[in-house]
């Protein structure tokens, strides 16, 4: 399977609590729900197209907790996102989660790099990571990401956890696709290319 990452970001790179004030208040974060005014039909269509390609999910602990608290209540069989999340295999990278209650969830134990490589080696289309910022950084640092879908919403949040914090490893990327929705969401599809190529010095 291809490992793809899909993340909602603010213009200043925050990924915490996009969907609502109470989604994730950890660290005293009180600016949640920043995505809501900008999530238009075209954004929904792009997300639907992402979920058309999924065969399994790989989630960090915090995102798992948030998803497991809400998606099992979404039982509309016509909701493609909910039905996939509720029925397809979910793998959670966690050293503390035991006996997950959400159907078809397994906890990855032991060496995470080996476990993810083993999942990627299985037949299927996409092993998808949604949200899960800390996990995404780990996967990027270990060259395990095949594609990075970044949906950037037109807002500066100014606080909260950032997908790329101030200390991380440098990564080169190639831009494969880019589009803009009517409400000003930019959708960029990047392919990691390992350590960055540094170009010639130009001042601007």
């Amino acid at each position: 399977m291809q490992l793809t990452v899909t993340t909602f970001l603010s213009v200043d790179g925050v990924y915490q609590g996009p969907g609502g004030p109470d989604e994730d208040r950890s660290g005293g974060f009180d600016r949640g729900g920043w995505l809501v005014p900008h999530f238009d039909e075209a954004t929904g269509q792009f997300m639907d197209s992402i979920f058309q390609r999924v065969d399994a999910f790989l989630l960090g602990r915090r995102t798992y907790d948030i998803f497991a608290a809400s998606w099992p209540n979404a039982t509309d069989p016509d909701d493609a996102v909910a039905s996939r999340l509720n029925t397809l295999p979910k793998y959670v990278a966690s050293t503390t989660l035991k006996d997950p209650e959400w159907a078809n969830t397994s906890v990855l134990e032991g060496d995470l790099v080996s476990a993810v490589r083993e999942l990627k080696g299985r037949d299927g289309r996409e092993l998808q990571v949604h949200g899960s910022g800390a996990l995404v950084r780990f996967l990027l640092e270990n060259d395990l990401v095949d594609r990075l879908n970044l949906l950037v919403f037109p807002v500066v949040v100014g606080a909260g956890r950032r997908l790329f914090p101030d200390s991380g490893i440098a990564t080169g990327l190639a831009l494969d696709e880019s589009r803009t929705t009517g409400s000003g969401v930019t959708v960029s599809v990047y392919r990691p290319t390992g350590r960055p190529q540094f170009g010639e010095v130009e001042v601007n």
Partner: protein, 184 residues
């Protein structure tokens, strides 16, 4: 009245330079440089912090000797541009520059009486003061496809959500993307 534009090259993770102040990661090819030339040509004046002034003044006065015609053209646009340098440590500046000090809002108010058109501000420390005061009319980010992992951030800390409206995007062949936002 013209706009105050905050325009810079930015890494995908939101930094404008590496921790050791390197800009080597920016891939300003001929296509992107032409965009910078066209954008700069529309300005009435440029605002710099001290470090940005030193970077620009350290190269562009000799830019007319560059082998690239696009670079030479930028040098010719840059030279006569009125430049306003915010610094409390510099004693004098050159190349059509002048030194200013004090409150950024008051300085901008004075410049508005002098310049009708668009003004740009670059250098994140100086620009951050304008951002926090709500004085920036347009943000132009040239987002390069690289994660630096550390460096000087484009965005300052802000006290509340700053809602924006996307007004322009452009994808360059190099994989860099222009995104222009205005406050909404």
């Amino acid at each position: 009245m013209g706009k105050l534009i905050y325009c810079m090259n930015v890494s995908l993770d939101g930094f404008i330079e590496t921790p050791d102040h390197s800009l080597d990661w920016t891939n300003v090819d001929d296509e992107l440089h032409t965009w910078f030339n066209d954008q700069t040509r529309t300005l009435d004046a440029s605002l710099y912090g001290r470090r940005m002034y030193e970077v620009m003044a350290g190269y562009w006065p000799t830019g007319e000797d560059d082998p690239s015609a696009t670079v030479r053209e930028f040098a010719r646009i840059w030279k006569p541009m009125p430049k306003i340098v915010f610094s409390s440590s510099l004693e004098h500046v050159e190349h059509n520059s002048r030194l200013v000090r004090g409150d950024v809002g008051a300085v901008l108010g004075g410049l508005r009486r002098e310049f009708d058109g668009d003004i740009d501000v670059s250098g994140p420390n100086l620009a951050g003061q304008f951002v926090r005061r709500g004085l920036v009319d347009e943000y132009q980010l040239i987002i390069h496809p690289v994660v630096l992992g550390a460096g000087t951030p484009f965005w300052p800390q802000v006290d509340a959500l700053l809602r924006l409206r996307l007004v322009e995007t452009r994808t360059f062949a190099s994989g860099a993307e222009l995104r222009s936002y205005v406050p909404s």
